[in-house]
Symmetry: C2
Subunit: 106 residues, 2 copies
């Protein structure tokens, strides 16, 4: 159940900020941390969590390490929400149906 790690990782605002910074493409740690409110080690720790959750890929590039969003990890979470969405709609439809049948004018 990888979507659990993904959703728990994305629950943190700092980690969502990191994700937003990587929307345009992969970046090294220094570039990610630049201009952020927290320290660079803090960013490193968050990158670790995001990587473990399968949301980021790491590419050692000489001296630096390039972090980029992993589409597969995002997709796992999408699948979970799609299933939840389907069930919610079905339950809603059933409730509306029962309401229409049983309590029309009684």
């Amino acid at each position: 159940m990888s979507y659990v790690d993904a959703i728990e990782a994305l629950a943190d605002p700092t980690r969502r900020q990191i994700i937003d910074r990587l929307r345009g493409g992969g970046l090294p740690v220094g570039a990610i941390a630049e201009g952020m409110a927290v320290s660079r080690p803090a960013v490193s720790q968050h990158l670790r969590v995001l990587s473990d959750a399968g949301l980021l890929t790491v590419t050692p590039l000489g001296n630096k390490r390039l972090y980029a969003i992993a589409p597969d990890g995002v997709d796992d979470l999408r699948a979970y929400l799609d299933g939840l969405w389907d069930d919610a709609l079905a339950a809603f439809a059933r409730a509306a149906d029962a309401q229409a049948k049983g309590k029309t004018h009684d």
Copy 2:
């Protein structure tokens, strides 16, 4: 930005368990709490958080209160993930393209 509240609400395992119990349809608090590891007040607090996040609807039904999943709230989160997914794929394609052009055999 309602998706923020939604994702932070779903980050808790107990709250995800509650959501799972509501997949089949709306339930009163007692039925939700029954068989769960935590106390009923704890469930009540979680229901409050989920409602505030727009993930649940509340329907006072005489003595009880019926909680059900709100499809709209789930959809907000889906929209956020869809956008993230799109950006991630586009960035991935650009990176692969740059890789192919610049470093083919050099």
